[in-house]
């Protein structure tokens, strides 16, 4: 940091900033707040503590944007208050920020506390931080109690044991608060506090509040229970897991609110990871099956998304005997989302099962999903084909794969077509060159002529990727002749796409090919009837020359490209002339630079 200078220009700047902190326009106030540390630096530590911080305290009656800016920048002041022993002075403005009604401001204020507490000396923690937290936790305003719930675990380990006890008692009280929002936030931070406590402490003091929260009347509180279960299970030994945490988990799985069941379905693999093998293979597995059969589609979707993760922690024989029959039901589920969710993860079961089991159990389901009505489902299967390829190779699928790809390629929704184009290079790599040539290459060329611009563009990029995958010879043999044919298409848009296609191909082709084959193709289009096509020629040439100009041999530019540009310079269309002028300048610059 530079030492603060005291010349008048700088002081004037700071004075301006200070006035802007209270300006009429909120945007100016926000910008000025971002320079709080400059002001603090100029004032020096003592004045920062005695004048600037009280000044900030008075600014806290303000709009949300400004409050957010203050909360974000108040932590930075910790370097300017004169050392760790003065960090406590920052707690005052933060206390005011922690009670505002806007949740995002409170969250940022809490994070500022975390960064300040890190450097606060332990005795100050006792004298300033502890009263700060206890005050917030007992205040009238429910927002301050909400902020307090996030603060108990921050410096817990550094406090003496009687203070820790006070904190635990206060936290338990917040878990039973009248206001539902406070209970919800207490539930959310329950796990972080539990992680700091010893086993006996948890057993004696936390299990009671935990069970009450799990049985709370408000749905929004019960939804947080799964998170607590995971944290508690991680901290308790197996017997206690089974006696205390597992019953709660099973209750969640049969809760009357689908949202609460959903919260379990979404995190069930994490629960399995902490609970140990016996539980996972036993009651949790049964739980999972029931969630997969739940009456609410959202719950089934969430569970389906976790199939692979769960199967990786359940024993293989149980997976095949108990989970797979239910997955079979999901594959024919009535809800599109559920099937799509299943399709996105099901391929990754293959490595877990091994070749034989995959062929026997998984393959029929995959084939069915490939023929699904919903395009999302088919897309999801195709997107994750790599996993299958590694285990059984794609040949077994290729019979069904091809119709599925063709269907998606001709889907009426352009975004679906777009998505399948993205996957083509990878599929091509897995299927191999010959298969691709036979079946898919014509498809790729039809895309170049699609109605939708984004598709044509994506198709051209697709060709580029394919030629870098399959090599230049393949490109020369297969792609370039087809593009040449497009040059004479009746629709001018096709001809323009052909030009773009050639341009992107250049990056994957060797220089001689570019000079002998590509550039002449481009120059051919200079005599096209439609001006739009003609003006694309100099633009393309310009791009090529600018990116690859130095690679051209000797006087290629002068002999081949410049003459073509010269004819276009006198074209009848104004835009053509404009772009040609640009291109000529570009070419001249490269020639000049080379010489």
């Amino acid at each position: 940091m530079d030492r603060p200078r005291s010349d008048s220009a700088d002081l004037y700047q700071i004075s301006l900033l200070i006035d802007q902190l209270r300006h009429d326009d909120p945007q100016i106030r926000v910008n000025a707040t971002k320079s709080l540390n400059n002001i603090a630096e100029a004032l020096g530590p003592e004045r920062t503590r005695n004048e600037l911080i009280p000044f900030i305290n008075e600014s806290i009656d303000d709009e949300d944007d400004v409050l957010l800016a203050i909360a974000e920048n108040i932590g930075n002041l910790k370097r300017y208050v004169g050392g760790a022993e003065f960090l406590y002075t920052l707690l005052e403005p933060i206390e005011l920020l922690a009670v505002v009604e806007d949740g995002s401001v409170r969250d940022v204020a809490v994070m500022a506390v975390v960064s300040i507490i890190e450097e606060m000396p332990n005795d100050h923690l006792l004298n300033y931080f502890v009263p700060f937290v206890l005050k917030l936790a007992s205040k009238d305003w429910f927002t301050s109690r909400i902020s307090a719930t996030a603060l108990f675990h921050i410096a817990y380990s550094r406090l003496p044991s009687d203070t820790q006890q006070e904190f635990r008692a206060m936290f338990s009280r917040l878990c039973a608060d009248d206001t539902p929002m406070v209970r919800r936030m207490a539930a959310k931070h329950f796990g972080s506090l539990a992680a700091e406590m010893t086993r006996t402490e948890i057993q004696d003091e936390l299990l009671g509040p935990f069970k009450k929260l799990a049985a709370d009347e408000q749905d929004s509180v019960r939804i947080q229970t799964v998170g607590i279960c995971i944290a508690l299970a991680g901290a308790l030994p197996t017997e206690l897991q089974i006696s205390e945490v597992l019953p709660v988990v099973l209750n969640i799985a049969s809760d009357k609110s689908w949202r609460v069941r959903w919260s379990l379905a979404a995190k069930i693999s994490e629960v399995g990871n902490v609970m140990g093998e016996q539980v996972t293979n036993g009651s949790l597995c049964e739980c999972f099956e029931n969630l997969l059969r739940d009456q609410e589609a959202e719950v089934r979707s969430a569970a389906a998304g976790n199939i692979t993760k769960m199967c990786s922690i359940i024993r293989k024989d149980i997976t095949i005997s108990r989970i797979f029959p239910v997955v079979n039901l999901i594959v024919t589920d009535s809800s599109d989302h559920t099937r799509a969710s299943c399709a996105s993860v099901i391929n990754y079961l293959a490595p877990l099962l091994g070749r034989d089991d995959t062929v026997e159990n998984l393959l029929p389901m995959l084939l069915q999903l490939l023929r699904d009505d919903s395009s999302d489902v088919r897309l999801n299967i195709i997107a994750s084909l790599d996993a299958i390829n590694a285990v059984i190779g794609v040949e077994l699928l290729s019979q069904s794969l091809l119709p599925a790809i063709v269907d998606l390629a001709e889907d009426s929704k352009w975004r679906v077509r777009f998505a399948i184009i993205e996957h083509i290079p990878r599929i091509a790599g897995q299927l191999g060159c010959t298969f691709f040539n036979e079946k898919l290459i014509n498809l790729c060329m039809t895309w170049l002529g699609d109605d939708v611009y984004s598709i044509r563009r994506a198709a051209a990029n697709n060709l580029c990727e394919l030629s870098s995958q399959f090599g230049e010879e393949w490109a020369k043999e297969q792609i370039i002749p087809r593009i040449e044919r497009m040059h004479t298409h009746t629709n001018y848009l096709q001809r323009m796409t052909a030009l773009y296609g050639i341009q992107v191909l250049i990056s994957s082709l060797s220089q001689p090919t570019v000079e002998e084959v590509i550039v002449p193709l481009i120059i051919q289009m200079a005599s096209d009837a439609v001006p739009n096509v003609r003006l694309t020629v100099p633009r393309t040439l310009n791009d090529i020359v600018r990116s690859n100009g130095k690679k051209f041999r000797g006087n290629f530019l002068a002999t081949c490209i410049q003459p073509a540009l010269e004819t276009l310079l006198v074209d009848s269309d104004r835009d053509v002339r404009f772009y040609t002028r640009q291109a000529s300048e570009g070419v001249a610059a490269v020639i000049g630079g080379a010489q």
Partner: protein, 413 residues
Amino acid sequence: MFSQLFGDPDDISNEANIFSALEFNGRGDLLASGDHGGSIVIHKKNDDIPQKASVRDVEGAENQWQVHCQFQSHEQEFDYLKSLEIEEKINHIQWGKPLGDSSFLYTTNDKTIKLWKVGRHMQRLPGAKYSSIRDGVLSLNRRQETSSAVSAMPKRSYCNAHAYHINSVSCNSDGESFLSADDLRINWWNSEINTSSFNIVDIKPSNMEELTEVITSAQFHPEHCNILMYSSSRGSIKLGDTRRSALCDVCAKVFEEPEDAASKSFFSEIVASISDASFAGDGRYIISRDYLTLKVWDTHMETKPVRVININDSLKSILCELYESDCIFDKFEIAVSPDGQKILTGSYGNQFSVWNKAGYAEHSIELQSSGGRSRTRDAAEADFDKKVLHCAWNPSSNTIALTAQAALYLYKV
């Protein structure tokens, strides 16, 4: 007993002043009113006036309520896609959870819901200098004369979620979410998130030609966070349970009285449309009002209402004229007393009546600026341009508020 009057009851020249929404807050010390011009006026009960020494005007009424804050909530907008004007008329107001001295309210017009914070805010002095430089030393001037005044600050705006006109907003007992209902759909919002909401009821038929009913009002249960009620234009009230499934189209309970075939007429369907429905007291009973009757439903019995109170029988004979003048489509609100035993609703001729749940009329009063009780005229002979559409009952005292065109009356019962 007449208490206070705001506004001029005979002035119907400016349509913007006609009231369109009325609501007391939870603590009973603030009253918010919205009008056709999109502005909100908040009245506050002044507890500083001791009862005996209160200023009484000639008629003996106490001026306990005063204007606390006034602001423009919605402006007229234009929907470019459909080439339609979006009116700024406030359709509904709901108070949210207060925080300290600040109160929050949701106001909605046809398309947008806004959350406002009403409280004391520091007034900024434009051009005030807070710092000065003297002799190369920078100093902060903190002591500025700042006054604080009561004002309303817009906190959030929830827009573009409804294709049809929003008719109600209702806060959930969990304190952080609310629902908004339009003619065909109900959305569930989290107050912190204004970019997206869940759709929980959708009664739009796939073929709009088959449309038979629209939603007329919706409300969350006052205590259970998962129950919501909505009333329809066909005279049915539906209770939905959000725990059961993501979409509450299939209702947990339907309260509908099957139509009496004998009294069916051309107008019976229009007249059966529920204009307002509300949970009473702790939520055990639902009170609904359609054009001619008040119905008290016990949530435990779906087949028929516990009581049907005929409030406007005399109108039955002139339904034809009322249809011609479009008066038959007037939506009268109801208000329920905090103990759930009394129901307040308005009628034509600037009359309002308070009914007991057992079916007896306790009061039937014509609003008059010079206070006092007056004999009521038969509803059929009343002036149909004067209607008491909006009413509210203070949850913590025995004060009621009613609107008559551009005038706001406060009465004590």
